[in-house]
């Protein structure tokens, strides 16, 4: 077909479509909406980490005229059903019933126990005080090692008989042989702490229920409509559900999982009161109960040849999953996504242990288990280098998958689409003048100034496969689906403008801008005449299992469906225009929204003229073609086989595209205070074909900044009683402009062999290797003290302790 060029606007930093709205205060977030008669809800939350609920007395609250509805544990049990176990709880030996709110017990501080809907928020807050809960306080379990030793202080789920709630193994290749034949075995214990991306906009929801049609509508800032849709169906036994998702003030995974609890309870308040009900989470509620990234403990060992080749990796992972079983294995199974990172190793074994504790449940957070997996690899490679007295970058070069091996199948069944890992690493080292930097480090050390260089590399997987978790749960009763499906709708309107409708929500990744760039080239119009309709509305959005602002899905599923829908619309435009202009569709050209017959300047039709025919003038339409100029296309990844559904060998495509990045961190550590200053942070990244460089850079800057902050001190701290000590952003250690280092990015794209534009993901990316880069740099700086970095975060206090411990 003539002159359709999907790449015409690809690679350009076109003007942001969201920008004018967001920079003028015209963004529309959930809290900006009101509904007629709307009530405000607040939650009653557990002050205890672990307690039995003996009774709840809400009589005083219920008898107040300004209170419209109250939900208590009794209501939860009577009026709702427990959630279905879902893909991350499939490994439970005995079923555990989890309701949206606590019923018999509370298992973490902040767990929702009840809720009140009143005319306004302050009334609802006052009323909370009048609800009394009789708790029988139980010993809190906050130590995973105690649970591993079978010394549970008390059982969190009696039905499971232990707080070690799940264990399982993934094995690929022959690790026993690799370790038997190794020249040496390098071992290390590592730990990543609890943290979160703390989106600036807290969780939010407005629910309304039409009691006659039984239709429930929720407007909420979830990243994944399916989670809300399924949760409402399961908990409230409703089928007719509409999920509307307006602008979202940041997601990062925080708005995927536990948000469903609140939406269900707010919906129940709406059903009971017969009024729309709004709920806006407080910051401290968010910190306590909206979910944390998992504290992960790793015992790692690598089988190594004397030339630095790693022939096998074994690790034992203990996850502190908090007071819920619904995300029991999420951090473990996510390691399938980057299990072998950028390396050639063929033999890997992972033993996973999930321990429930009296802390906040864990949830997906930017990369989920992937930063942990990258941490395992990059820390152990550094250890191998130390053991063999090699340069850490040399050991990496020795083990990297080579560009000529692409597409490359990893031992666990991922297929790396393209990439030049040695090239990325080489370029990064060149850019920082690695030998020069090492000389400078040596010179400065003499003067008592401790510089450190951390060099790491990591893959960035993109585009989720819904069947991944069946690799550890082949017996899963309800399959979670497989591959990925998501759609888009494009409409040429009567005035010649183009409206896009996407199948998934977005929370700051410029989907409106980038989809318009791609559609514009295909349709032969300027991106300026294209608008993307928000909010997401499940009633009209063409959404499927991949409709998620999560899993780096956008580049694959949304871009794929936009290309499909735009291509179909173009074909239709040409058919209708060809009929009217009396020309073969294949002879026509489109530019600037005008269809022309080349060589006949007067035979042309504008998109506006076509629009008027398509919607108004049946007589001018060709035979056998539907009226209207609207197309909907559901995309599936055409290269999802092999390994889309795991077989007996557990091999599975966890994700479908693989970008990568080499990171270099240069730090200075003050041994007297333990303070780490990041002097330079460089990323050479492969994000495939870049659609909009400013957007991609923004994703890299943001994800790197977060990974760096996580490594240097951001995080949640609990006391032994399970009380969270970091309930404000300040206590939590959120970084401002003052603490965040400048980040340099250079692009070295290897376009994907599997995607229409060669595009890969950009989103989670730099959050995956950056904690490892900082750990590596700090350790390198403190080499003269003999410091080994095993645990994160590296707060000044912790770094100071490490120096003292090493000197002792």
């Amino acid at each position: 077909m003539a002159n359709a060029d999907p790449k015409q606007y690809v690679g350009l930093a076109t003007r942001s479509k969201e920008g004018p709205r967001l920079a003028t205060g015209q963004g529309r977030y959930t809290d900006d909406f009101t509904e007629p008669g709307m009530l405000q809800a607040v939650f009653l939350r557990s002050p205890h980490a672990h307690a039995r609920i003996l009774g709840v007395d809400a009589q005083a609250a219920l008898s107040r005229p300004d209170v419209f509805a109250v939900v208590t544990p009794e209501d939860m049990k009577r009026d709702t059903k427990p959630f279905r176990p879902g893909r991350y709880a499939a490994g439970l030996k005995k079923p555990v019933e989890e309701y949206a709110g606590a019923v018999d017990k509370v298992r973490y501080v902040g767990e929702p126990v009840g809720a009140v809907a009143a005319r306004d928020r302050s009334t609802a807050e006052d009323v909370l005080e009048s609800i009394t809960v009789d708790y029988d306080i139980l010993p809190a379990n906050t130590d995973v090692h105690q649970a591993m030793a079978g010394e549970d202080a008390s059982l969190i789920y009696e039905e499971l008989g232990a707080n070690l709630a799940w264990q399982g193994t993934l094995e690929y290749g022959d690790t026993e042989k690799a370790f038997r034949e190794a020249d040496r075995v390098v071992r290390e214990n590592l730990k990543i702490h609890r943290y979160s991306s703390t989106p600036l906009e807290p969780l939010a929801c407005i629910a309304s229920f039409d009691r006659f049609s039984k239709k429930l509508t929720v407007r909420t800032n979830t990243q994944v409509p399916e989670n809300i849709y399924d949760a409402l169906r399961d908990a409230l036994s409703l089928d007719d559900i509409r999920v509307i998702i307006p602008d979202i003030g940041g997601g990062f995974g925080q708005k995927i999982h536990l948000i469903r609890k609140y939406v269900v309870i707010v919906a129940l308040l709406a059903i009971k009161s017969g009024r729309p009900v709004k709920w806006i989470e407080d910051r401290n509620e968010h910190m306590m109960a909206a979910g944390h990234a998992c504290e992960q403990h790793f015992d790692v060992e690598a089988a190594v040849k004397n030339d630095g080749t790693v022939t096998g990796l074994r690790f034992k992972e203990i996850d502190d999953v908090g007071g819920s079983v619904s995300t029991l294995t999420i951090h473990f199974t996510n390691k399938l996504n980057n299990l072998s990172n950028t390396y050639k190793v063929q033999n890997i074994r992972a033993d996973g242990y999930s321990v429930v504790t009296n802390r906040c449940p864990v949830i997906p957070n930017r990369g989920i288990g992937k930063p942990g997996m990258c941490y395992i690899w990059e820390r152990i490679i550094d250890r191998v280098a130390q053991d063999l007295d090699m340069d850490p970058s040399e050991v990496r070069f020795q083990n990297l998958v080579q560009p000529e091996q692409m597409p490359y199948t990893t031992p666990n069944g991922n297929v790396y689409d393209s990439g030049d890992y040695p090239g990325l690493l080489k370029r990064a080292l060149e850019k920082v003048d690695y030998p020069g930097l090492k000389d400078e480090q040596a010179r400065e050390r003499e003067k008592g100034r401790y510089l450190g260089i951390g060099v790491v590399i990591g893959v960035e997987p993109g585009g989720r496969n819904a069947a991944r978790d069946m690799a550890i749960f082949p017996e899963m009763k309800e399959t979670p689906g497989s591959g990925g499906i998501n759609g888009a709708t494009i409409k040429l309107e009567k005035n010649g403008t183009i409206a896009l409708y996407l199948g998934s929500p977005n929370c700051g990744q410029a989907h409106e801008t980038t989809t318009a760039q791609v559609a514009a080239g295909i349709l032969g119009v300027s991106p300026d005449v294209i608008s993307t309709t928000t909010p997401f509305d499940s009633d009209i959005a063409p959404w499927g299992v991949a409709a998620a602002n999560s899993g780096n899905n956008f580049h694959l599923y949304d871009i794929g469906s936009i290309i499909g829908a735009a291509t179909q619309l173009r074909e239709k435009v040409l058919k209708v225009a060809g009929h009217i202009l009396d020309a073969q569709p294949s002879d026509l050209e489109i530019a600037d929204g005008v269809v022309t017959v080349p060589g006949f300047p007067r035979r042309k039709l504008t998109f506006a003229e076509l629009g008027k025919v398509a919607y108004n003038n049946q007589a001018l339409l060709p035979e056998g073609i539907d009226a209207g100029l609207q197309t909907t296309f559901y995309y599936t990844f055409p290269h999802a086989q092999p390994n889309m559904v795991p077989g007996k060998d557990g091999r599975v495509r966890a994700q479908f595209t693989f970008g990568a990045g080499a990171h270099v961190a240069v730090v200075q550590v003050d041994p007297r205070t333990g303070k780490v200053e990041v002097l330079r942070y460089l990323i050479v990244g492969d994000n495939g074909t870049i659609i909009n460089p400013d957007v991609v850079d923004g994703q890299i800057y943001g994800s790197a900044a977060h990974g760096i902050a996580v490594a240097l001190g951001e995080g949640f701290v609990y006391d032994d009683e399970g009380q969270l000590l970091t309930i404000t952003l300040t206590d939590y250690g959120k970084c401002s402009t003052a603490e965040t280092p400048a980040i340099e990015v250079e692009h070295a794209p290897s376009p994907s062999a599997f995607t229409p534009l060669g595009q890969k993901a950009a989103g989670e990316g730099a959050a995956i290797p950056s904690p490892a880069a900082i750990a590596s740099a700090v350790e390198n700086a403190l080499e003269p003290f003999g410091v080994k970095v095993r645990d994160l975060p590296l707060t000044p206090e912790r770094v100071w302790q490490l120096i003292k411990e090493a000197q002792a």
Binding site: R15, A23, T24, G27, S122, S197, I248, A510, A705
Partner: protein, 157 residues
């Protein structure tokens, strides 16, 4: 007991009956319907609610509406001159100095106040000047670039 407040917001006078405990942020968002001022913490930590009161930077969650009585408040909605965006807004758009946009109104109000005080800030001064406004998305790089660009425009223009 409600109290009457007279507050000029973005050049328009509002006379409203408010509860003495109502925060300025809620007054702006709920009483007069200007939802561009956001709330991220309500205790003065995040800066999402930043506005200018008589030209000074204020976190509107740290001020009661009654304290704004007789004062002039500028919010993000009052920065553009009709259809013409303010140079700071324009620079944020040009540099993709936002992602989810939730911090953006407060960030722009803070950047504007910074440039009014210091029309030619160094990178360090920009970073210090915006340290009261948290952004969870961007890593601040493009925000700093936007402020630099806006400074250039303010100077040249």
């Amino acid at each position: 007991m409600k109290q009457t407040v007279r507050v000029t917001v973005n050049g328009r006078l509002y006379e409203e009956e408010v509860e003495p405990r109502q925060l300025l942020s809620y007054f702006l968002r709920e009483t007069i319907g200007l939802t561009g001022t956001h709330i991220g913490c309500i205790i003065g930590e995040c800066g999402a609610c930043t506005v200018q009161v008589d030209g000074t930077l204020v976190k509107s969650c740290l001020m009661f509406a009654v304290q704004a009585n007789g004062k002039e408040v500028t919010t993000i909605e009052g920065l553009a001159d009709g259809d013409a965006l303010h140079p700071v807004q324009e620079a944020f758009i040009n540099n993709y100095g936002f992602q989810c946009g939730y911090c953006t109104p407060g960030m722009i109000m803070a950047a504007d106040a910074l440039l009014k005080k210091n029309p030619d800030p160094s990178e360090e001064e920009i970073r210090e000047g915006l340290a009261g406004n948290l952004c969870m998305c961007t890593g601040y790089m493009q925000i700093v670039a936007a402020v630099k660009e806006a400074a250039g425009q303010v100077n040249n223009g």
